[in-house]
């Protein structure tokens, strides 16, 4: 979760600064006497607390611990894992809800025990700045699990307790960098989504400005073309007058004197030259306008482009609780499994389909003892033997139904066929047919096979 909403108008900044200063002084901050302005208070506080080593509030929560390790948990008749009756603790309720969604569909489940463990994770706190024509900042905290390298935004850790400040729990440099990179990767995905809102707002402003600009340049273009149109009219009229004058000269009696209005009228070639020159000038203006418009558009785009910048401002080593659950499954085979529940992310770990790695909620136990999801569970179409996609030995080549080794029937066309007087035909890979398909389609094939054999 993000700490620090974008705009909170009800927030009393002055009061918050005063409270901060009061705490700073109470805890004996250095040079507290010189700290007066909000900036100075903030700056002073930034000098401390870069890293911490703490126990997650849930890890020190005794009610949670008691509820988690309580005895007498048995799966319900529908195969779901059930925790003891609701105790009102939100973390326990959440855990009960997650457990309630796990169903062992073809096996009896007996819980062998539960333990509460502590596991160290890394909390990275980033300050993120989004910049376009304005700036927005927020703090984003990401918790990274060193086992899975998965990162997740986390709520605040109010009530966390210090645990060992003596440096006994330092992190290895390589692991640390990997985890930091993983946090950065997560943050990038998160920011892309969060920045979308700002991008849309900036986009709206950009569009408004662009529309104004387009309108302006359209007007300028029209104004630039106006003299050209006027001139064209004038030249067209002059050209017509000149043509008329020549026509009169050719077909009529030559007038004694050149008519007044055609005097000084340009010849056709002169008109064309004038027109070309004018066109060139207008074209020049239009080109300049286009370049100018392009420059302004680029300027606007640069102004409204949203960029984000993240800086790591603090990090903490957080000892988080983890619930280890041990259960025994009895079904097509017997198997003891251990999985973990992560109360921070509110999900089970190590309980994923062993064929496709998808998180498991509805669980099937296959005959070879694998835990698989319904999509990967593939019982034999003939005898119903619990199989999964990893262990199914054969499939019907017609309907693709899974078949166990004993139920599969060879396709007559793929069996080596021996015809009298000839060598046996080369056999292809063995193909299987389920009972249903064999009854439905194998009769003609058998006849064909026999015919070929004869």
């Amino acid at each position: 979760m993000t700490t620090g909403a974008f705009v909170d108008k009800a927030f009393d900044h002055q009061a918050a600064v005063e409270a901060l200063l009061s705490d700073y002084r109470r805890w004996g901050g250095d040079d507290a006497s010189g700290v007066e302005t909000a900036d100075a208070v903030i700056q002073a506080c930034r000098q401390r607390g870069m890293a911490a080593n703490v126990l997650h509030p849930l890890a020190g929560d005794l009610d949670f611990a008691r509820a988690v390790v309580a005895d007498g948990v048995q799966p319900a008749a529908d195969g779901a894992l059930r925790l003891p009756g609701a105790c009102g603790h939100p973390a326990v309720e959440a855990m009960a809800e997650v457990f309630g969604q796990i169903r062992f569909l073809n096996a009896q489940c007996r819980e062998l025990g539960r333990r509460l463990l502590l596991q160290r994770q890394l909390l990275f706190c980033f300050k993120v700045v989004y910049r376009s024509d304005e700036a927005q900042e927020e703090l984003v905290s990401v918790l990274v699990d060193p086992l899975t390298e998965e990162a997740a935004p986390v709520p605040g850790l109010t009530g966390a307790q210090d645990i060992g400040l003596d440096g006994g729990a330092a992190w290895q440099g390589y692991a640390l960098k990997r985890l930091y990179r993983s946090a950065c990767g997560h943050l990038e995905r998160l920011l892309a989504a969060r920045g979308r809102r700002l991008e849309l707002a900036a986009q709206r402003r950009l569009e408004r400005d662009m529309a104004r600009l387009e309108d302006y340049y359209q007007g300028l273009r029209e104004e630039a073309l106006e003299p050209l149109a006027r001139e064209l009219h004038r030249l067209e009229a002059a050209r017509n007058r000149a043509r008329l004058w020549r026509a009169i000269g050719i077909y009529g009696a030559a007038p004694a004197a050149e008519p007044q209005e055609s005097r000084g009228a340009p010849s056709e070639s002169a008109t064309d030259r004038e027109l070309s020159a004018l066109e060139a000038r207008v074209q020049e203006v239009l080109t300049a306008l286009a370049a100018d418009r392009e420059r302004r558009i680029q300027e606007l785009k640069a102004k409204y482009t949203v960029r984000a910048e993240a800086a790591l401002v603090a990090a903490a080593s957080v000892w988080t609780p983890r619930v280890e659950v041990r259960v025994k499954l009895t079904g097509p085979t017997r198997r003891e499994i251990i999985f973990f529940y992560d109360p921070i992310r509110r999900r089970c770990l190590d309980l994923s389909c062993e064929a496709c790695q998808a998180p498991l909620k509805e669980v099937h136990l296959c005959a070879r003892g694998e835990l698989v999801c319904p999509r990967c569970f593939a019982p034999c179409a003939a005898c119903g033997k619990a199989l999964c996609v990893s262990c199914v030995p054969a499939r019907c080549h017609l309907c693709d139904a899974p078949l166990c080794g004993s139920c599969g029937t060879a396709c007559p066309l793929t069996e080596p066929l021996a015809v009298a007087g000839t060598a046996p035909a080369a056999a292809g890979p063995p193909r299987h047919v389920c009972h249903a398909c064999r009854e439905r389609t194998c009769g003609p094939c058998t006849v064909l096979a026999q015919f070929l054999a004869v």
Binding site: V7, T37, V41, A44, A51, A135, A170, L191, A316
Partner: protein
């Protein structure tokens, strides 16, 4: 969206790797502090907390409007004296604090460059540099220069190459004509934010308004033809003034004193004539004759103008001030032996009359009659020292303030004056940047020949925050150049009585009054010719002043 990670993570990761953990409460405190330091748009002004500057309500509103609604492109058109410069500085600082601006270009009139630099440095902590070299445009983040320098080769091309985050143009009425090099230059700059500062966007006609707004936001008033059709009745009157104002308000902030509920107290001007004694008058005449002789003597006369003008100004201040220059001249190789001897004689004359200078006595008796702190201004350190010595000997509490003091010494001097009262004797260094509103009496021991400097002196006490009427007392020596300069400033520009504001507009006719007066004195064959020359300067000032008043009225009509 482009996402960058800053490299400061190393320190944090190091702390983890070495197990340098701190108590959780400090960690939490740090995060709380970070959260409080977060920028949320432009809801609040960040720089006010860090710099302890105080803005008036109209300034705060203007800054927030520019940041929030106008997105950094605005015309700041507050009436004179309402603090446009500080508004622009705060806007720049806010953008800088939010990481939205780094490269800033400030284009101001040459006479205001230093003032800009000081205001930015002292009030806003922005290290701006005045640049006149072609090579430094890329080097510094915040550069101040004059429009005239910037638009010229080779600077113009260099400046145009840089994508500026913020461009500020002070006295932006210079961009009133879109066919000028200046307008085209500013228009051609690549810039994200643009602030134009002027109290009088309309100098002559509405076209100027169109040109300036097109610079800020092309298309806001559409094309010029549309603007003419829609908003211009004729060149000077608006057709649909209400709608025009509405349109302009998208990018213009204009506060008047009435809006801001700010009324500066009155300026009460007093003149204390201090006639010269016989020996003083003789000394005055001799020095003027000496200066004229050197100037008219040919040779290196052109080179001598400035030192001679300085000598004349010193002469008007005190024999102590003049004595130093005369002593230097007496040893100068650039003067003929006869001239050196003359200078030596004059220096001896100055020393002889220094102790009995009438101005010193007049100042002393006038100050003694005051019941409140007095701020005395003089142009010269020698005069300052003599006056300080004299007053101290008589038991006055005297504090001196000059450009040779360090920043700490300056603020200590001001604190002392604030707390102990008495007399603060300041040179021009005290005329800039110091706010001394707690005092309301200014004694001009001598008068700068530059009206800007006079205004700066008065501005130290006659400014926003001053609640009482301000007394401005000028010690004037009749029959000297000082009296002529005083008449020009007082009668033609009305400098002492009211805030003129756009002084540079009035002074455009006579941008270097100091030199003009000096040359008139040096070149005039007699007193009558001098008076005729000064009268001509006075008339030019009067016309400029009337023009300025007309401009004020025109702006009021369209924009108010």
């Amino acid at each position: 969206m482009e996402i960058a990670f800053r490299s400061e993570h190393e320190a944090v990761l190091d702390a983890l790797a070495q197990g340098r953990f701190e108590p959780w409460r400090w960690f939490e405190l740090r995060l709380r502090a970070e959260r409080l330091g977060l920028t949320q748009g432009f809801e609040r002004l960040l720089c006010l907390e860090g710099l302890r500057i105080e803005l008036y309500d109209h300034q705060r509103e203007a800054v927030l409007r520019v940041l929030r609604d106008m997105r950094g492109r605005a015309l700041l058109a507050d009436e004179v004296g309402l603090g446009k410069t500080i508004e622009a500085g705060v806007i720049l600082k806010e953008y800088m604090l939010r990481g939205l601006a780094r490269k800033a270009l400030i284009l101001a009139p040459a006479s205001l460059l230093t003032q800009w630099q000081q205001e930015l440095a002292e009030k806003l902590g922005i290290p701006a540099r005045i640049n006149r070299s072609a090579d430094n445009w890329h080097r510094w983040d915040c550069v101040i220069t004059s429009l005239d320098t910037a638009r010229r080769a080779p600077h113009a091309d260099r400046i145009r190459e840089i994508p500026w985050d913020m461009v500020i143009v002070d006295e932006a009425h210079r961009l009133k004509n879109r066919h000028t090099v200046s307008w085209r230059f500013v228009d051609g700059l690549t810039k994200k934010y643009l602030l134009l500062l002027t109290a009088t966007p309309i100098q002559n006609d509405l076209t100027e308004l169109y040109n300036m707004f097109t610079l800020l936001k092309p298309g806001l008033l559409r094309t010029y033809s549309s603007f003419k059709r829609e908003f211009m009745l004729d060149k000077r009157s608006a057709k649909d003034a209400g709608r025009l104002r509405e349109r302009l308000s998208e990018v213009m902030v204009r506060s008047t004193r009435r809006d801001a509920l700010l009324r500066l107290p009155r300026r009460l001007v007093e003149t204390v004539p201090v006639p010269l004694s016989g020996p003083e008058e003789a000394f005055y005449r001799d020095v003027v004759a000496f200066a004229r002789s050197l100037h008219q003597g040919g040779g290196a006369a052109g080179e001598r103008v400035l030192p001679l003008i300085l000598l004349l100004r010193e002469l008007c201040s005190s024999p102590h001030a003049a004595c130093r220059t005369l002593e230097v001249m007496a040893c100068s190789d650039r003067l003929e032996p006869g001239e050196r001897e003359w200078a030596r004689t004059l220096a001896a004359q100055a020393r002889a009359i220094a102790a009995s200078a009438r101005k010193l006595a007049a100042a002393e008796s006038w100050i003694a009659a005051q019941a409140e702190p007095v701020l005395v201004f003089t142009e010269f350190r020698a005069t300052q020292a003599a006056l300080a010595e004299r007053l101290s000997a008589l038991g006055f509490i005297v504090t001196v303030f000059h450009g040779g003091l360090t920043r700490e010494e300056r603020s200590a001097a001001v604190d002392r004056f604030r707390q102990a009262g008495g007399v603060l004797i300041s040179t021009e260094a005290g005329g800039e940047g110091q706010n001394l509103q707690f005092c309301r009496v200014v004694l001009n021991y001598d008068l700068p020949w530059n009206p800007m400097r006079v205004e700066q002196r008065i501005g130290r006490v006659h400014r926003l925050g001053q609640t009482r009427d301000v007394r401005i007392v000028n010690l004037i020596t009749p029959g000297t150049i000082e009296e002529h300069v005083y008449r020009l400033l007082h009668e033609k520009i009305c400098l002492f009585r009211q805030v003129i504001g756009d002084l540079d507009l009035i002074l455009a006719e006579e941008p270097r009054l100091e030199r003009t007066v000096g040359q008139l004195v040096l070149e005039a064959p007699d007193e009558e010719a001098l008076l005729t020359g000064l009268a001509a300067v006075g008339r030019r000032f009067e016309r400029a002043r009337q023009r300025w008043e007309a401009i004020q009225r025109r702006n009021e009509e369209v924009l108010a």
